[in-house]
């Protein structure tokens, strides 16, 4: 009798745990099904459909591979991929600078928390403000760069409106706003590098450069890998800065600011009747991201050290 009661009580408790657990855990899962899974399925379907107007799905028609043909046959799409990759040059530069700065911050220096605090500020700064800030700096008629170079109205360089300099400027802006995140992550990673390795190396007479390349660099390689992977996924979806700097629907000089997401945005929300082809372009981009990430993971086996 007593045993049975105890058994009942235990199963009841288990059941309670099962129900409350399910209930608690399901909130984000339900959200994901409604706002993630459902749209994802629709996206896959839309890529093969002609959707008239601004997304009038009730009059959509099956279009086979037409959308893909249109996107892949559009030289602007290929240009947008090239533009995106060119802007992504800022990523490796960001990672290297972040590592160097974070490494210097581990040295015994005064005002460390001040420097740390300053370096992180660009991270909380919105891309809109960053764009406006750098438009001021690169401005042809009153910008500080042209003024520093001693140029006059006639010789002033149109940094952001000339195709030769536009991408370079965007890379510089990318570096300015992109290092903060890496500095914080490397800062955390560097404190976790095994101290006894340095002492052993010192005993063996290794210099600080050898220590850096043989101990520090492999020690923080998981962080480098993380920054590279997430950074690439982000860089392939760059949008705000070129959109703001281009001004409205224009995409910079010679369309150099037309990134892939900008291209998709224009098809979907600026042009008419192009929701389907926008979905096709987004699908191509997702596959591209998947491939790049997979390559990243495969290559990482060669250089990332998880000890």
């Amino acid at each position: 009798m007593n045993l049975e009661k105890l058994y009942n009580k235990r199963t009841k408790k288990k059941l309670g745990q099962n129900n409350s657990g399910m209930l608690m855990a399901s909130i984000p899962v339900v959200g994901f099904i409604i706002f993630g899974m459902l749209p994802l399925l629709l996206a896959l379907a839309m890529a093969f459909m002609y959707v008239p107007g601004r997304g009038d799905i009730s009059r959509a028609q099956f279009a086979g591979l037409e959308n893909f043909k249109e996107v892949l046959g559009d030289h602007m799409f290929w240009k947008s991929i090239l533009n995106t990759l060119r802007m992504a040059i800022s990523l490796p530069i960001c990672i290297v600078i972040a590592l160097i700065v974070a490494y210097l911050l581990t040295k015994n220096i005064k005002g460390r928390s001040f420097f740390r605090g300053v370096y992180f500020v660009p991270y909380v700064c919105c891309a809109v403000a960053v764009s406006l800030m750098w438009e001021l700096i690169f401005n042809q008629n009153h910008g500080i760069i042209n003024s520093w170079l001693g140029l006059t109205r006639e010789t002033a360089i149109p940094w952001l409106t000339d195709s030769d300099t536009y991408t370079l400027c965007l890379i510089i802006i990318g570096i300015w706003s992109g290092t903060a995140y890496g500095i914080v992550l490397y800062g955390a990673a560097l404190t976790n590098v095994n101290k006894s390795l340095y002492e052993a190396a010192k005993v063996d007479g290794a210099g600080s450069f050898r220590c850096f390349f043989n101990i520090t660099l492999p020690g923080v390689s998981p962080t480098s890998f993380f920054l590279l992977t997430t950074g690439l996924i982000g860089a392939l979806q760059e949008f705000t800065r070129p959109q703001m700097i281009g001004g409205g629907e224009g995409a910079g000089p010679n369309n150099d600011g037309l990134t892939i997401v900008f291209y998709i945005y224009r098809r979907a929300f600026v042009y008419n009747n192009e929701m389907g082809s926008a979905a096709a372009a987004a699908l191509i981009l997702s596959v591209l991201i998947l491939i790049v990430t997979a390559i990243n993971f495969v290559v990482s086996k060669k250089w990332v050290n998880y000890d």
């Binding site: 608690m24 220096i109 909380v124 409205g248």
Partner: protein, 294 residues
């Protein structure tokens, strides 16, 4: 003898130290100079700001830029309130409720994933992790169509409701945090007859306040700085968030009144910077843990 050696070492260290400080100061200037340029330009007169004859310090110190921005109330949601302030209020209305509710959803499910046993737990968790793999861009057009069908376009709802269900990344980090809390604590509370919801609210939440704060700050900043979402869904200037209002201010002021544009920029970044200064430690913690998932 020992003293002399120490001195020699110090000389060598000194050179190294000077190099390190120089590098750190140059990098700090690289970060700060653009800010100070924006700040100082916002106090210049229109003519001075438009001249190639550049000065850091404004020759004549004027607040006309700020006045012009705070006079511009076209499309503002409230009568007589400048567009930039109405944008700021709209942003807060959109971001704060969805951040708080979203954090609650994420935290309670993180607790369940970390500490409770239930059916399909691991399957549900891997499903959630799968969401982190989906690039946001692919959802751009289908979500627009769905929200259009249910009449959410040109309302703030698409920017608020999905976030209230929590975010996979946040669930993941909170789960990591809750895994570190000893299970004995929960068992003891269970014996005392506390319900699982009670345990969450009375034990888990108080223990995780710092982690929750860090996540809340990151969520708030993310929402505050969001650009693409409001750009697509808010067409009526009365609903514009701060970022989109900035876009409109830019098309009005750029080329016409540079100091006013810079004044708007200063106003737009002040809230996040103040928040950052107040809660610097939490911010950095939140960001640092975001990199620990590898």
């Amino acid at each position: 003898m020992i003293k002399a050696r120490k001195k020699k070492l110090n000389a060598k260290d000194l050179i190294g130290q000077i190099c390190i400080y120089t590098a750190l100061i140059i990098f700090a200037l690289w970060v700060l100079l653009p800010f100070s340029l924006v700040f100082l330009t916002s106090f210049k007169g229109i003519k001075e700001a438009n001249s190639l004859d550049f000065n850091w310090w404004p020759k004549e110190f004027t607040l006309q830029g700020y006045e012009k921005v705070l006079e511009y109330d076209m499309g503002s949601a409230y009568e007589g309130v400048p567009l930039i302030i109405s944008g700021f209020i709209n942003t807060l209305w959109i971001v704060i409720p969805s951040t708080i509710l979203g954090l609650f959803s994420s935290a309670i499910s993180a607790y369940a994933f970390a500490k409770l046993r239930f059916k399909f737990r691991d399957k549900m968790f891997s499903l959630l992790l799968g969401t982190m793999m989906i690039p946001g861009t692919i959802l751009l057009t289908p979500t627009f169509i769905i929200y259009n069908e249910i009449g959410w376009v040109n309302t703030p709802l698409p920017l608020m409701i999905p976030g209230m269900f929590g975010a996979a990344t946040c669930v993941f980090f909170m789960r990591q945090f809750y895994l570190g809390i000893p299970t004995e604590l929960i068992e003891a509370a269970e014996i005392d007859g506390m319900s699982y919801f009670g345990i969450f609210f009375k034990i888990m939440v108080p223990l995780s306040v710092p982690a929750l704060l860090a996540q809340a700050l990151l969520g708030f900043i993310g929402g505050y700085n969001d650009y693409l979402g409001p750009l697509i869904y808010l067409q009526d200037p009365e609903m514009y968030t701060l970022q989109i209002a900035m876009n409109q201010l830019k098309s009005y002021f750029a080329g016409r009144n540079v100091p006013a544009m810079m004044a708007a920029t200063v106003i737009s970044i002040i809230p996040t910077i103040v928040l950052y200064i107040i809660a610097q430690k939490r911010f950095v913690e939140g960001v640092a843990t975001s990199g620990m998932k590898v």
